[in-house]
Amino acid sequence: MALNRKIAYIDLTTGTVEAKPIPVKMRKQFLGGRGLDAYLLYNHIKPGVDALGPDNVLLVSAGVLVGTLASASSRTHVAAKSPLTGYFGSCNMGGFFSPELRFAGFDHLVIKGKAAKPVYLWIHNGEIEIRDASKVWGKGVRDTQEAIREELGDHEIKAMTIGIAGENKVRYANVMTEIKNSGGRTGMGAVMGSKNLKAIAVRGTMDIKIAHPAEALEYDKKVISQVTAAKVSQEMGKLGTLFIWGATNSQGLVRTRNFQLNQLDESDAIEPEEFEEHTFGMAACYGCQVHCRARYVIPDGEYKGVYDEGPEYTSIGAFAGEPGCRDLTTVLAANHLVNDYGMDTLEVGGMIAWAMELYEKGILTDKDTGGLDLSFGNEAAVIEMIHRIAKREGLGDILAEGPLRAAEKIGKDSIKYQIHVKGMSALHSDDRPAPALALGIATASRGADHLRSRPAIDLYHLPEPVLRQIYGQPVPYEGPLTSDYTDYEGKSWQVFWQEQCYMAVDSLGICKYHTIFLGPNFPNFEEWSKLLYYNTGLEMTPLDIWNVARRANMLERMFNLREGLTKQEDWLVDRYFDEPTKLGIPKIRGRVIDRDKLHKLIDEFYGFQGWDTKGVPKPETLKALGLEKEPSHQL
């Protein structure tokens, strides 16, 4: 059946490989993907290890529905201790890697140790080989993949690889597959680089047996139609995720000039529709009918004629909004560069914008920048800084260390202008008018993270009965819920609920854009329960799936606490509280987050989690979820 995929333990120091089946019992507790990774990380990493040392463990995994007919079940999850935050490190990406990993016979890879010289893994129909990577070391993301395909003689090979940034251990380096599928945030690429692991190449022709094929075909078709019928899916299938930038900037919900302002006005030139002119059709991840990334060729400038995919709304935020640029070519070129260097677009943009504000404030001078004019709006400087960060040249070497380490090196007041949580830069969105979004980033397990618990539909002004329908299952909720996104009422539950929702899909391996992230009528726990049954034969109720999510989220929390996380770090930087928003529609102007009210939200949130007032899981919570004996070393 679809569950007969294995877990492989690979020790790069000794060169040993061991494969084991994954017991159905573990599946029922953690499903796969991020859920099981949470378990594995908690069990395989000793507290306090150096994230860039050989004792860190890199996990690569496929969700339990990956490669099945379930819509958009294409997600690959990578986890390790983060060299950026020092806490739970994790990234999740689409594309074709994890389906291919499953066709090659594996669901989870546990990679330990450090290779003596650059290597890559070659995984093929149940076999794993460690190969010399000296020929591809130093190559960019796409050249590496093409070179591996050439070397192994198969065009169908999918490879997850690091670029130059990962080799240089830029602390927010990505793991990448294909042109643009990026495992971003928390620096998993740096972990790979630190292990001298350049790439993981996979190719397989093994069956993934569907438990109930005829029913699966019918049901999956129904779910696909449910997703594609949504207006937002159709917009995204035309314009990509850029439409999110368009919609939020129109209201004033974006950070610009490193959080000094909240709208990039007169920015018609970088509206999604403008990008559309330069694209030729859309591309999709494995098995997805929404197809949200554009295929484009850079129309102008130094990189004219280069093919790439995307950009995502995060890139437009990172390379237009935050540094205050309005140039289309810059965004397209920057997107291409971060893809090929293998860096987190969002972190790069955040760091550059931060440096620009420091330059504006005189904290960084021409001497520090090597003569580069880091004024806001200087497009050439943005591109130049991307190169420098990836290659760790000059100021780039400092910025490559991530928010906290860089601020420490630069000193003065520089930390005051950093927009981060737990040492990870925040998305370009301005969350001051929306407490629910602010609470989400403050409490997310991997730092300022909009993909862990963000109730994005809170911005939709949905009627309360609809909110009740959504947030009232699979566990009942009777407390307050409000349509107004500027309100504080009930937002803690929404964030808590979304956290379980996203953990569930990350464990299943489904894309978040096929969940309530984007719209109220997207698939939900109920649909996933059926998808699981028809595709894999696992019988799990919506509540069972909810509990899997609870369990895995709990382990992520426990991991962070073990690494020294305190309640103080579930918090935002002062700018959220002290500097009111200046632009946008009336509703959004003059907004700050209220410290007391956020405290209250966090307390409520802890309560829903079953944590004590310090944010530590209560013994009874652990018992209820069966986690009291962790680490249990069952896998």
């Binding site: 949504a230 207006k231 509206e271 299952q473 049954y533 019988e539 799990m540 009336p586």
Partner: protein, 86 residues
Amino acid sequence: MTNERRAETTAEATARGRTYGAFRCLNCFERNTAPSGAKSFKCPKCGFEWRLSWPMPTQPRIRGPVWETNRRLAEEATAKQTKGEK
């Protein structure tokens, strides 16, 4: 199958409220419709003006604000509010 619980899931139920062709004003959340292919739109409720695009022939989307109008309206509203507070 065992976990076939009820005929309609939450997502299916909420989907019944879908309004194709309509879009919400990003300021006041009023549901509006616009003449097919219209390039811009003024919200009858709040007066904010938006530029439209048509990703699908029947479904408009707010492309962005008419910058000047919306900025002026927002500044007026904020001024009124501050005055009221004083």
